[in-house]
Amino acid sequence: MHLQAIPIHRPQQSASCVYRLEGVDYTYPNGNRALRGINLCIHEGDRIALLGHNGSGKTTLARVLSGLARPARGRVLFEEAPLEPHRLGHLRKKVGFLFQDPDDQLFCTSVLDDVLFGLINFQTPPEGAAQRALGALAQLGLEDTAHKAPHHLSYGQRKRAALAAVLALYPSVLILDEPTANLDPASEDLLAQVLKGYAGTLICISHDLLFLYGLCTRAVVLQDGCLHHDTSFEALISHRRSLQEHGLDFTFRFRCCDSPGRHVGAGRSPVRSTANDPSSSLPPARSAHVCRVSAGEAGSDACQRPEQPPILELHQYTYRYKDGAVALRDVSLQVRRGERVALVGPNGAGKSTLAACLAGIRSGSGRYRFDGKIVDNRRRRELWRHVGLLFQDSADQTVCSRCYDEVAFGLRNLGWPESKVHQKVRAMLRWAGLGDLENRVPQHLSGGERKRLALASVLAMEPDVLILDEPTAGLDPQAEENLLKLLDEVEATILLISHDICFVSMLTDRTILLHRGKIVRDVPTWRFLKDENLHSLYGLDFTYYNRCCREIQHLQETASETADGKGAPFNGL
């Protein structure tokens, strides 16, 4: 049932309408009806958060607004005139669109050329163009990288460069598709500052409601291609039931905050012990030890585990890329069986490289022991039997044409008999909530489903160590919560690489902070979360995030009290 329990946003009558959508429908060539009867008016200066489940039609709506997709039915009016093909040039001068993947948007051989691309196309005089391009790059902290090739930049830098290329055009409407996905807190903070200073109309697609808080004033929520809510952003986030209805309820994140909104070690649920039974719907339990952390233990060293021999051990480990750049420098660490460790650090700190070395994908100099045995070249080739790796982008891990085959892929490589494979695949798909999707093409799954499929296919192989590389990237809050529940049941030793401080606090006991390829801190997670100096020192400042959490919690409490006292306000769309 659709809830309409939040007040409707009433735009100021004085503001002129930039976009007017009248009964807009859009259907993809494969018959997928992505938008249905959208009626929407976007006013000058509006700051809109475009929200909804994965696959609800947000990106399609953004493509319609930027003139990339022509509606099958209905009308799109831009500046009160219908958006016809001959007006697309005018629209593109005024509307900037930041794509989700920066590599789609950086197609020139240097960053400066990319930023100048649009300016030259729009006939900006050369001197003015260069000035604007360098100004936009400087605004995003990229003045030193102007002459570098995009593929030589880190992901965060590429994302900022793509935004610079859009901002240099001085657009009066800015459409952003998942601008914060995979960004470290420092880059996210810089992005927030730049966008707060942007004076035009802002339309931002994101699942990161904490980022949108303070940036957007209006929320447009889509579900199955239909417009479900068009309200003030504050009203939406203070109404939990509406958030839940659209899979946007991120309040599970508050579990990792104490009363003043600061992060503490969150209550991890006790983990059931499972046998190595192929039909078990729980992931395997090779490890004997499980560490529990609860909020109450936050003041002490939460994880009091008996001395277990280390399963992963690096000593003075260094890794250099072929071009000579050092990715890891003299890294020494020990991870014990059953431990849950977070690897945090800014973009380019060497987290993913460390994970690749531990999984045997890369090999550096120094000593690496796995389960007490030195990892030489022969053992390195066999590490895949013991170390599972969940990639940042699940698409990199899906090569089969059916979900069933995807989960069976690793098991067949392990040489399991087909009957055992069948049992295990069924059990793992059920565990991941994909029981009835075994014949579905993985590419047709939503982001959350695909992530769970990748997790199931890794865990089916019963690894001793599970390495998770940014598991929450691009997921909506409901998919994040589902993933968190699944991961909480995993008993293997976990290494979590994440910028998501909430996941770190809820899933791990110990945090290793990497900076420029070196381990600069190795502390219990609760201590890391309390040390604000540590955050700001290494570009991991979560102060803003914490403040947002606090304020949203307060808003929700106030709204709930109002609802208890006077009954929930009920307004139609």
């Binding site: 794509f99 789609d104 020139c108 649009g118 891990q397 090569v399 690793g410 067949r412 192989m461």
Partner: protein, 290 residues
């Protein structure tokens, strides 16, 4: 004094670490900062004249003149100051192919009157014609001279400038645009391919000679194709959003000086001279190269 030196050392060490950490510069830009004769040369004239010389080098018919061309190319490489390591890599890539000529040609070259022939075994079915070695040496020397010349041709200007120069020389615009985009996306594609391959490797896939490997490799290639196709569409849309109307904008401007033309003329004359030496026995010094 000592203190000053120490702090200087520590500064330079920290600078060194900084450099090591820094992401590498676009090779073309780095190369462009060097100022040899080849770097300063107008790319349009450079491309035209060096390619013409390459054609001449590829047309010679004697080992001596081919080796002369090799020497000229090696000298050009030295003057251009591009790393020998890269030239060696280029030659190494051809080495196996060229080595094959030394094996195949002595066995397959038709026997002409005056050829030296060795017969292996008691029968006459394996004949080694020593002229085959000289034909293989001729092919190898010609290939080497052209390959060595590609270094000063391609590594002394940034790639986009070279492509823009090609466009000015009349190479069709769409082809040049494709070259420019390909140069950028070959890295993205390589990265995507390696991620997908690693994704299979960490789940234990090791290619073998069985049906399952063929099936998985088929899936892998199919996935790469689908992803590339999707990316192509998204890149095109991103270009449209920033005003692309079918012409890639360029910032490159070219200006030729008399020195550029003189250099070009020198290379063209050099190429013609090599051909004449090769073809006309009566020319002075021509006997040296036979």
């Amino acid at each position: 004094m000592k203190l000053g030196k120490t702090s200087e050392t520590s500064r330079s060490r920290s600078r060194g670490e900084q450099e090591l950490w820094a992401v590498p510069e676009l090779p073309g830009v780095e190369e462009g900062r060097r100022q040899t004769l080849f770097h300063r040369w107008d790319p349009r004239i450079k491309i035209a004249s060096l390619l013409l010389f390459s054609f001449c080098a590829a047309s010679v018919g004697t080992v001596g003149t081919a080796l002369l061309c090799c020497a000229v190319s090696a000298s050009a490489l030295m003057v251009a100051g591009t790393p020998w390591r890269l030239a060696a890599r280029r030659i190494a890539a051809m080495a196996a192919f060229l080595a094959m000529f030394f094996v195949v040609l002595p066995l397959t070259v038709p026997v002409l009157p005056g050829d030296q022939v060795a017969t292996l075994g008691h029968g006459t079915w394996i004949q080694i014609n020593f002229r085959g070695f000289s034909v293989a040496a001729l092919v190898a020397a010609k290939a080497m001279s052209v390959a060595l010349l590609m270094e000063p041709l391609l590594r002394t200007s940034p790639f986009p400038r070279t492509v823009n120069a090609l466009a000015r020389l009349g190479v069709p615009d769409p082809l040049c645009q494709m070259l420019l985009i390909m140069y950028r996306y070959v890295f993205v594609f390589r990265h995507e391919m390696s991620r997908l391959w690693v994704g299979m490797n960490v789940r234990g896939f090791r290619p073998g000679t069985n049906r399952r490997t063929i099936h998985i490799l088929g899936n892998f290639l199919g996935m790469l194709f689908v992803r590339s196709l999707e990316r192509t569409e998204r890149v095109h849309e991103a270009m449209l959003c920033r005003g692309f109307t079918g012409r890639f904008p360029t910032r490159e401007s070219f200006r030729s000086t008399p020195l550029d033309w003189a250099l070009g003329a020198g290379w063209v004359l050099g190429g013609v001279a090599v051909l004449l030496l090769d073809r006309y026995e009566t020319l002075p010094f021509s006997g040296v190269f036979r």
